[in-house]
Symmetry: C2
Subunit: 326 residues, 2 copies
């Protein structure tokens, strides 16, 4: 992870000073670096055994973080978000224009690094995941303010906007390690299920989180009229009057008034909509753990054996994800 | 070009209906398709001799157009432009959010297509050009409202925002054709010089064009306080009072008032700033033509000979570019 952080800082440099300045703002804000961690851990667990100058998984991990950072920059612009990880968002500090363009730069730079790395399968995975990511965001936009969105459609949205890149991160790790297809598929599945759990919990926390803990405002999704599982669960479980409340506040969300967020939080608590969402997250997390079990244990004494503790780490990541800040 | 148009339409499809809808809006608006034309012509002139299903240059040309379209979508968002090619811009019709995300989708899709094509050198050229493009746009942003920008800096900006992708388009054509390095370099130089001429003329036309002809508003750059060569030339040639006018309208461009655009047009005419700009464009166009001459003539009867007329076409493109709408 230290090598990956160095790579991230080194590769976001540019002759145009604003680019590293803006990028550093996000890097300094210190994300969890969960996606690069997944690349690195997946690669080692899949038997990747290069060290020092020869390590390829570090560059791939940096690219995955660049792609993720680019989408964060663009998301904050399109959502007009003022906070990111508890600090002022890049668009709030540097303006929308700079955020859009630096996002484009990071995306282009990611594919430059991947080209230099030279693995076509890794590029195929990450370019496809990037397209799916954009599709997921567009889908989310078109389901916004629409309570007729099915739970299935919602799950498709979160697969696109979050789980696809988690899956890709894990799968590229396996590819770098030249692991057999069964291991590659197990790691891809682990990532996809972890990503689903992660986004479900994220959506639950938007109606439950302590802003100081998460650096995000409770009720952002509500104010934007995002149709997430907590809302759908409360809406479907509500009586006629409650459903009318959701229609007014989510479908016609420009009419939101004082007290509406509190009412939403109350209804979500009453209908146990957070519980419903967290239970789904738990199922995905368990599927993620099951997927890991498909990777054969390394024989004691084999080169791969020293990385077996990473299996436990990835299990912990899944279980922690499904329970964080609960 | 017909095959390339079909490829563009086929590859912008997505299960998310808004994506092809928005992309079709731009495709229907009918750009010049100059960049894909450059890929195709450069490839053939460099001796590319595959036809039908085997044609690789068509896919690369579509990718170049996708990258260009993505930057147009993002530019219109960051500049809040309402018109593009004489029609309502995509952000005006579909909103900023959709434009940013569909731009991201097209960019990702371009690298998906390139990965499937499988040429690492082509990907290296286009990912580097995409990064340079973003750098050019950021540089343009930081020179905005700044009359101390040197002509050299301005030229660096237009190289980044325009010429780099023209150069890349031509160079990838040569790479697809597996042409020798000297031909690859000649075509890259042709594209770079053509791109410089193209952007210089574009910047001149912003102070001279008939909106109905170009589908752009005269004075857009002025209102945005963009520091382009027509402005720099008029500013440097102006007396004290005139320079004060430029400082007020370009550096403090929020203070622009009625009559300012007319005054700017008058000063630009008085100082022959358009003439200065077009003369520079003409020099670049001539350098472009000279670069083409470095490509050896195909021997009569050789497979490459049938494509020699494309040399004349590329010469005409350069000369027309330097003179369009004059």
């Amino acid at each position: 992870m230290a090598a990956c952080n160095r790579e991230i800082v080194a590769r976001m440099q540019s002759d145009v000073p604003l680019i590293p300045q803006l990028a550093a703002h996000l890097v300094a804000a210190g994300g969890k670096r969960l996606r690069p961690l997944l690349v690195l851990a997946a690669a080692r667990l899949a038997g990747y055994d290069k060290y020092g100058e020869d390590m390829r998984h570090v560059g791939v991990a940096a690219c995955v973080e660049f792609i993720h950072t680019a989408t964060l920059l663009h998301d904050d612009v399109v959502d007009n978000s003022q906070l990111r990880r508890g600090l002022a968002s890049a668009n709030a500090v540097f303006g929308n224009k700079a955020s859009v363009l630096v996002g484009d730069f990071l995306f282009a730079r990611a594919f430059q690094i991947l080209t230099a790395d030279g693995s076509l399968p890794v590029m195929a995975i990450l370019s496809a995941a990037s397209a799916t990511l954009a599709e997921g965001e567009v889908m989310q936009m078109t389901t916004q303010n629409d309570l007729s969105t099915s739970v299935e459609q919602y799950l498709k949205v979160i697969y696109g906007k979050t789980a696809a890149l988690f899956a890709a991160a894990c799968e590229t790790g396996a590819v770098v390690a030249e692991a057999p297809d069964s291991v590659r598929e197990a790691l891809r599945l682990y990532g996809a299920n972890l990503g689903m759990a992660f986004q479900l919990v994220d959506d639950a926390l938007d109606y439950a989180a302590d802003q100081a803990v998460l650096g995000k405002t409770v009720g952002d999704d509500f104010q934007e009229g995002k149709v997430t599982l907590p809302v759908l669960a409360a809406y479907h479980a509500g009586n006629e009057e409650e459903r009318a409340f959701w229609v007014r506040t989510i479908e016609n969300n420009e009419e939101q008034r004082e007290g509406d967020l509190q009412r939403a939080l109350d209804l979500i608590a009453q209908t146990d909509a957070i519980g419903v969402t967290m239970a789904r997250a738990q199922e995905y997390a368990e599927d993620a753990v099951k997927a890991l079990a498909r990777i054969p244990q390394a024989a004691p004494g084999s080169a791969r054996h020293r990385h077996e503790p990473l299996r436990e780490l990835l299990v912990d990541v899944a279980l922690y994800t499904a329970n964080r800040a609960r």
